[in-house]
């Protein structure tokens, strides 16, 4: 087949974004020193772009809903219970599962930076890392939840958990009414990322 369209033969320079050039500079130095290798970097990127995400956490929640002994284990030792499903933290951090009840709704923040339970939720959304959420989640949690469209019953307290480098929290939302006896797979569909941060609740069965 003839290529009769005009190729653009101007020799445009390539431009590297200033930040891209800095990362490459750093990576070059570290590679030369033997502190990182390119293949390992690629694997990490691929893992976090495609393999780790909120589906992992939804699995944990669905299992806790359908298996009381797992829920019990999760309460006592979330790090081990979560690791038993194959989701282990890479930074050696401990996990704590905080269970929502009719009396208490849990909300997770990292006021210092952006600590987040990567192994079960993947990387945090932009708003989680942004200053307004980090500062206001503690000062005015109900106001923040309202902006997410979540209005809690007046009698339900909000408890805010401030993550650290060593300890990350996973909210276990309340199981929606009318889903008793559902399979884990089906339950997983009701568990959004935000419901495990606490800025949402689990979806109602008719909404999933």
């Amino acid at each position: 087949m003839a290529h009769d369209h005009d190729h653009d033969h101007h020799h445009h320079d390539n431009d590297l974004d200033p930040m891209a050039a800095r990362v490459r500079a750093l990576e070059t130095i570290l590679t030369r020193k033997g502190l990182v290798d390119t293949a390992a970097i690629d694997t990490i990127v691929e893992t976090y772009e495609t393999k780790v995400g909120p589906r992992n956490g939804a699995h944990v929640v669905a299992k806790a809903w359908s298996d009381p002994s797992f829920a019990d284990w999760l309460r006592r030792d979330a790090t081990a219970a979560i690791a038993s499903l194959g989701y282990a933290g890479r930074q050696g951090e401990h996990m704590q599962a905080v269970f929502n009840t009719a009396e208490t709704h849990n909300l997770v923040v990292c006021t210092l930076c952006s600590c987040y339970p990567w192994s079960v939720l993947g990387l945090p959304p932009v708003w989680y890392k942004a200053p307004p959420y980090r500062s206001r989640a503690v000062l005015d949690p109900r106001g923040v939840l309202a902006e997410f469209g979540l209005i809690l019953p007046e009698g339900q307290k909000v408890r805010v958990w401030d993550s650290t480098a060593e300890l990350r929290y996973l909210v276990i939302p309340m199981q929606p009414d009318g889903t008793e006896g559902w399979s884990e797979d089906r339950l997983t569909e009701l568990v959004s990322r935000d419901s495990m941060i606490g800025t949402a609740v689990a979806l109602a069965p008719e909404a999933a």
Binding site: R24, I29, L30, V126, W127, A130, P131, F148, A165
Partner: protein
């Protein structure tokens, strides 16, 4: 955070993890160096925290990975593993290499026309 902002953000369940490839590379460098024991995660969180709490940090968090990279550079320089001058020299070399690389071809550091003279 405005109502519409929060609503828009809360609704994005499948947003991209990284908005540009360099962000992914900067992220992975930190994970790799931590796994190698170059710094502990607590050290890293402290370095990142100081950066993201800086008064000049963008209110919407849009410069998060800029801050991330600055924290990494700072930590490595502080630990004496990387010299700031080397970072600047290699950044310049990568820019020169990019300019010297024909469009559509991979940018390689070897393409830097001044490589022999600067020795970086």
């Amino acid at each position: 955070m405005s109502r519409s902002e929060a609503a828009a953000l809360a609704g994005t369940r499948d947003e991209a993890v990284f908005s540009e490839p360099w962000q992914a590379e900067a992220f992975a460098l930190v994970v790799a160096l931590n796994e190698r024991g170059v710094f502990s995660w607590t050290e890293w969180a402290d370095a990142l925290s100081a950066q993201v709490r800086h008064p000049d940090a963008a209110a919407d968090g849009s410069d998060y990975y800029d801050r991330w990279l600055a924290a990494l550079e700072g930590l490595l320089v502080h630990k004496g593993l990387v010299a700031q001058a080397d970072v600047e020299a290699l950044t310049a070399a990568w820019h020169r290499a990019a300019h010297a690389t024909p469009h559509g071809q991979p940018i390689l550091l070897e393409n830097d026309p001044m490589q022999a003279e600067t020795g970086v």
